[in-house]
């Protein structure tokens, strides 16, 4: 599975997804379910490598809010690309909770959503198997104009706000 970071093709994924009933390996970044993290977070605190949590589509930013300073990655699952809950999860992690770590889209996402993902605060995407990687990169150049504030630009220069610039 290919990994995209900040809209570019990234190197190999360092994160190891650990099943709920498997042992947590030492020395490598591990991605756990929310339930596993909650059950073992005190024991995991002393680890020498980063920990991330994978949220199912019915889990929300609120569910990990208290733990964000201990998590290097929050992976947000898209069961179907048409299920857009993940966009709000990422946006709330950034906007409401000020999360600075990596937010990763996993599951069924398509190239045509790449810009939306980045604009909602995702920083990485696991591209589904079989997808054409070039389409994901090309998708970012298709629409270069945005009408609303987002999570990419620090100062939101939305099309609405440009009316201010025109005036001054």
């Amino acid at each position: 599975m290919a990994l995209l970071e900040h809209g570019r093709i990234a190197g190999e994924d360092q994160w190891v997804a650990v099943a709920d009933d498997a042992a947590v390996p030492d020395g490598v970044p591990v991605l756990l379910s929310l339930a596993r993290w909650r059950a073992e977070r005190d024991a995991l605190d002393g680890r020498n490598a980063p920990v991330g949590v994978r949220l199912r589509s019915d889990q929300t930013a609120d569910d990990v809010a208290a733990d964000l300073d201990r998590l290097s990655l929050v992976a947000v699952e898209f069961p179907k690309f048409r299920d857009g809950r993940g966009f709000s999860v990422a946006r709330e992690l950034r906007e409401r909770y000020g999360y600075k770590g990596d937010i990763r889209a996993v599951g069924h996402v398509i190239a045509d959503q790449h810009t939306f993902l980045l604009r909602c605060g995702f920083t990485s995407v696991v591209v589904p198997d079989g997808a054409r990687l070039e389409s994901w990169i090309e998708a970012l150049d298709r629409i270069t104009v945005a009408y609303q504030p987002d999570m990419i630009s620090g100062e939101p220069v939305s099309l609405l706000r440009r009316h201010l610039a025109v005036r001054s």
Partner: protein, 562 residues
């Protein structure tokens, strides 16, 4: 195309370079998506929402392309482009919808990118006219000209249009999301049946703000929207809408598409709980980031500067003279022409419901002719109403006769605004893959039965709305008389309701009894009308009588004494 140079006073948002670039990029993006679909890179499942979000449906016989007309206002150049597209890529006509859009019912998939490119030349598109996203924002068709208007809703409808266009968080909502707006106490935009209905108003100190209603909608489980806020200050409009949409995106049901609209969320949570969740989200949003600065509002407002009206006397002797001398013209003025806030001007509604024709349909030749008339008489602007008619909003009273003659010459001078033949009907089984029964032919038959214009006038305001299936695109729930087509063992049957309204006194109609066979529907409608005529008191509309008497007299006439 050669045509009169249209004066650029239409009350549409004036695109700049970036708006144009955006729409052109969107066209090319869709062209690429079509190619990737044809190459097999996109599955049909993946392509479907992409084409829907560019207005392209697959219907019973062909594709259908739905083009956005923001808050229903067109320049004549845009209307002429519709005519051109209708001739070049479709079958020479178009269809105006209850959401102030235009549909072409026969385009070919391979032509659609070219059609969209043609639209982009006149600052139009089909973005988000379908799909599970925020749809075209609709508004009062008399915006800016109605004497009872408090705030011009177009300004805010445009701001919301921009804010919701490819909003990255809300393109994959649980279900479609419709916003309707008014700025007048008399609601001509049916805001109570929208996912979000907004009434712009002024506080006592003159500040502009918004009364917000959420969770209205028709379909198989109709609801009138509940008020969630009495006054959202202007600067918080975007933040509040963001909070509503985010609450819906997070919590709206995704397990059952028939329960996925926000109305179901509001209903299942209860209004109080829903409002509390929205307020919590709103309170936690970074308000500065979403703040709608007054300077932005003023910049947008410049697009809606009133056209250069002349100073004119309120009354027109010429009009009085022509009305006295021509009964047909007089009838048209009395029924289809309304007051304008500028002295000496009037608002004319062009009925797209000629007796026996398809509600909302218009030929390419008629489009061109209406555009010519709008250039001559109405500052190059044409509007579309949610009741599927057109409006020429700035007619000098002195010009009404010449306008009427022009409309009469193209068969568009039917004097039936708000009367029994001014029917809303969905495309129904003649076009739609979802339909259970025909709607258009029922509308045509009713219209023919009541063809006598004096009889129609005597019956007064009477809104018939017809849907060909339970999805209720024809708004039957809020018809004074509602007609719903159902399929009974392969035969078309029709359920009748009465007492619905989509105006400021919004209500849902009540079912009268067992459904009628196709051939009996018009007779049943006539029976209801006869009961009204017998029961009515002076100045009572059909709806008022139903509300006063209840259903019983109507039931008895239809089904006999129980």
């Amino acid at each position: 195309m050669t045509h009169l140079a249209s004066p650029n006073h239409a009350g549409i948002y004036k695109y700049d370079e970036l708006d144009r670039r955006f729409v052109m990029e969107r066209v090319e993006q869709f062209r690429d998506q079509v190619q990737r679909r044809l190459a097999g890179e996109l599955s049909e499942e993946e392509f479907r929402p992409l084409r829907l979000m560019n207005g392209l449906y697959l219907q019973l016989h062909a594709y259908m392309l739905r083009i956005a007309i923001p808050y229903g206002v067109l320049s004549t150049a845009q209307l002429r482009t519709f005519a051109h597209i209708a001739r070049k890529w479709d079958r020479g006509y178009g269809h105006f919808t209850t959401r102030q859009n235009l549909q072409f019912h026969w385009p070919r998939l391979v032509d659609v990118p070219d059609i969209l490119a043609e639209l982009a030349k006149v600052d139009m598109h089909a973005i988000q006219t379908s799909g599970n996203c925020v749809r075209n924002v609709t508004a009062d068709q008399f915006a800016g000209v109605a004497p009872d208007e408090v705030v011009d809703p177009r300004v805010y409808a445009e701001i919301l249009r921009q804010f919701t266009t490819l909003h990255p968080e809300f393109v994959y909502l649980p279900r479609k999301f419709k916003i309707g707006m008014t700025g007048a106490p008399h609601d001509r935009a049916a805001i109570a049946i929208h996912d979000v209905g907004i009434a712009a108003k002024r506080a006592e100190d003159g500040r502009i703000g918004f009364e917000v209603f959420v969770g209205g909608g028709l379909g198989r489980t109709p609801f009138i929207a509940v008020k969630t806020r009495d006054f959202v200050p202007e600067e918080d409009l975007l933040a509040y809408l963001e909070a509503v949409l985010r609450t819906y995106n997070r919590l709206g049901r995704r397990d059952n598409m028939f329960k996925a609209r926000i109305k179901i969320l509001v209903h299942e949570l209860g209004a109080e709980k829903f409002i509390a969740l929205v307020e919590e989200e709103f309170a936690r949003l970074p308000r500065e980031k979403y703040r709608l600065e007054p300077e932005i509002v003023e910049a947008i407002r410049r697009s809606y500067t009133p056209p250069p009206y002349e100073d004119r006397p309120a009354d027109s002797l010429a009009l009085d003279r022509e009305m006295a001398g021509n009964a047909d013209f007089r009838r048209w003025v009395e029924v289809n022409v309304g007051a304008h806030k500028q002295p000496g001007y009037a608002v004319a509604t062009v009925s797209l419901k000629p007796i026996g024709e398809t509600p909302g349909d218009i030929s390419a030749d008629q489009m061109d002719a209406v555009a010519d008339l709008a250039d001559r008489f109405s500052f190059g602007e044409v509007r579309v109403t949610h009741e599927q008619n057109l409006v020429l909003a700035h007619i000098k009273r002195d010009d009404l006769f010449a306008l009427w003659q022009g409309l009469d010459a193209i068969g568009l001078a039917t004097p039936n605004l708000g009367l029994i033949s001014d029917i809303i009907a969905c495309p129904g089984l003649d076009y739609c893959a979802l339909a259970s029964a025909r709607s258009i032919t029922i509308a045509q038959d009713i219209s023919k039965r009541f063809a006598d214009l004096e009889r129609q006038r005597d019956l007064g305001e009477l809104k018939i709305k017809i849907s060909g299936c339970i999805n209720a695109c024809g708004h039957h729930h809020v018809g004074h008389i509602g007609i719903l087509g159902v399929d009974k063992k392969g035969e078309e049957f029709y359920q009748l309701t009465i007492g619905g309204s989509a105006a400021e006194d919004a209500s849902l109609g009540q079912i009268l009894g067992p459904a009628f066979a196709y051939d009996d529907v018009v007779g049943a409608v006539e029976t209801l009308v006869d009961v009204y005529v017998k029961q009515r008191q002076p100045d009572e509309r059909f709806l008022d009588t139903v509300r006063r008497t209840g259903l019983n007299p109507f039931k008895e006439a239809l089904y006999g004494v129980a």
